[in-house]
Amino acid sequence: MSEFAVELRDVVKIFPTPEGGEITAVNHINMQIKHGEFFSMLGPSGCGKTTTLRMIAGFEWPTSGEVRIDGHVIGRTPPYLRPVNTVFQSYALFQHMTVFQNVAFGLEMERIRKDEIKRRVGEVLEMVKLGGMEHRKPQQLSGGQQQRVALARALVKRPKVLLLDEPLGALDLKLRKEMQLELKTLQEQVGITFIYVTHDQEEALIMSDRIAVMNRGKALQIGTPVEIYERPTSQFVADFIGETNFLYGTVRFVEADKASVYVPVLDSEVIGLATAGLTVGQKAVISIRPEKIRISDKPILTKNCFSARVTLIAYIGSDTRVSVDINGQRINIWEQNKISSLDTNIYYRENQEVWITLFPENTLVLPEE
């Protein structure tokens, strides 16, 4: 057994456009996905995540580079000979077959004995909670049930790797949240490697062991949800995952893992954690998440602490969302409501003068894009 379930080495995919031009959908991607891992590819539409998935499934072939499945270079092996299965975004259930026939299809292709097929289909339908639905046609099922059939149909083949292309995209929010947890539990239960494509960052954070954040055909960062959220290495990743505040400036000095950036709008230097490769004089951007900024009546630190005016307050129950203004620069802050009180004095008011503190260990310095 190879170390990795799926490995992409310098994979490029170029599509011809109808106008005679070319589009690079996937641009020199390298990924190593471990056995039993829940791995997500996350990015906006057109970032190349689905194309990458389709190259693993065998529906597309790389223009250059190589795809390895369980250590074997897969080359141009057609989809029906690959040890992977796909859950399609549109489910692609066979409309002319019953639930049982849909799920049994893949096993019939392997020429498995009838009674064995019956047993395995029954098992997997039980696992996705569709017991008793064997004889329904897909049209007679709800969206969520169709989704489970699509999942069962792929899982029953016991693939080395299960590929999921935005499988929850068509479900409503509540059902999607339920299915996220269910999918994660199911994956741990069966121990199959899942490669999951989504544009929903919350979904990726909840379910994944590791995430590849993609944009314009490139994998910008691959890491655990915590790494991706807490230590984004690029402005795009910081912006795409969660909410953040950006302050633009120029790098003044870099020392070990700290860097100082002169921010013109604050007319001050801000110190933060440096990303690798920053150089003095470089254009940089400070990124700090709204929940990591401290508001206070008095200055707390001598550096990274600024006077600001409250411009907007939104009470949303768990948090209070405060917007402050410093010389026309707006900064968003989320304060957790840790005290239960009806006393309006404990909340901030509009036009109140406050101090905000950007703790250096919560502040990231990223190269400007």
């Binding site: 499934a57 065998g58 529906f59 057609p78 989809p79 029906y80 000979l81 992977v84 299965n85 796909t86 399609f88 549109s90 692609a92 259930l93 066979f94 409309q95 002319h96 299809f105 893949g106 292709m109 392997e110 149909r153 792929a154 083949k157």
Partner: protein, 299 residues
């Protein structure tokens, strides 16, 4: 008076506004009236006529009996009927065999090219049917294009005798009915999502198995619709056998036409028509039930 009138008008308008059933009836009334006058009533007349007998001078004697139907049991007519059934079925099978690959090809070309191919299939309809049949006669006769061509390239030495044979009738029938098979087949094939075939491949089906298990069953509604559109008119066709089959090929359609136009035995022609109607009706019902797609056909 005027007050009463306006009250009545108001109430009619009100009924139409508030009653969906009344709206529906109003909307289908032109179709209903048209079908009643031009289809239902004539069919009833034909059914009544089939129970009469022919008079001495080709007139109709109004005397109810089953003599015409008894006459149809004659082996001569039974043979013609069975032969017509054979020609109808052969035509249908041939249009499927030729039409399926064609429809499949069109459904898999880029969208912009599809309309061109569909256009090409419909172009022959711009010319009168009889003229197109004469064109086929020009092609198939001993000194025609086909024989000239085959002799020139040395494939045959003497001209082939195709025209005025059952083969010629089949060629003409298949030619005439091919579009009626291709168009519904195309509609069915075009609706199949590519994701369905990708799913089949993903689950381990090589292309030929994916075709048999997914494409073919999903195109069945089109094939059934095409079969009905081809088989029923093919059973009653008399122009093609008349012009291309010479006197040798007589189908039930020719019998019916001759009874009305040549022998002036209207009651017997009517009886033959009713028999043909019943046969095609039984076939259609059996076929759609058997295929189990009767509901989907309506969609």
């Amino acid at each position: 008076m005027s007050i009463i009138n306006s009250v009545q008008k108001l109430s009619l308008g009100k009924v139409l506004r508030e009653n969906p059933t009344a709206q529906g009836l109003l909307l289908i009334s032109p179709t209903t009236i048209y079908l009643l006058i031009f289809t239902i009533i004539p069919m009833i007349l034909v059914a009544i006529l089939s129970l009469m007998i022919r008079g001495m001078y080709g007139n109709v004697v109004y005397q109810i009996n089953l003599a015409n139907y008894v006459r149809l049991i004659d082996p001569l007519y039974v043979r013609i009927l069975l032969y017509s059934l054979g020609v109808g079925l052969t035509t249908t099978v041939l249009t499927i065999l030729i039409g399926y690959p064609l429809a499949y090809f069109i459904a898999h070309t880029p969208i912009r090219e599809r309309s061109l191919y569909l256009f090409l299939i419909l172009v022959p309809f711009w010319t009168n049917f009889i003229i197109r049949i004469y064109a086929w006669i020009m092609i198939l006769r001993s000194e025609g294009f086909l024989n000239q061509l085959l002799m020139n390239i040395g494939l045959i030495e003497a001209p082939l005798n195709i025209l005025y044979t059952p083969t010629a009738v089949l060629i003409g029938m298949v030619y005439e009915f091919l579009p009626f098979m291709v168009l519904p087949l195309y509609t069915s094939l075009e609706k199949i999502e590519s994701a369905q075939l990708e799913a089949a491949a993903d689950l381990g089906a090589p292309p030929w198995k994916a075709f048999l298990r997914v494409t073919l069953p999903l195109s069945l509604p089109g094939m059934i619709a095409g079969t009905i559109l081809v088989f029923i008119p093919a059973m009653g066709m008399f122009v093609v056998p008349d012009l291309m089959g010479g006197a040798k090929t007589i189908l039930i359609g020719n019998v019916i036409r001759n009874q009305f136009l040549v022998s002036r035995d209207w009651p017997f022609g009517a009886a033959a028509s009713i028999l043909l109607l019943i046969m095609t009706l039984i076939f259609t019902l059996y076929y759609t039930r058997k295929a189990g797609f009767s509901e989907e056909l309506l969609i």
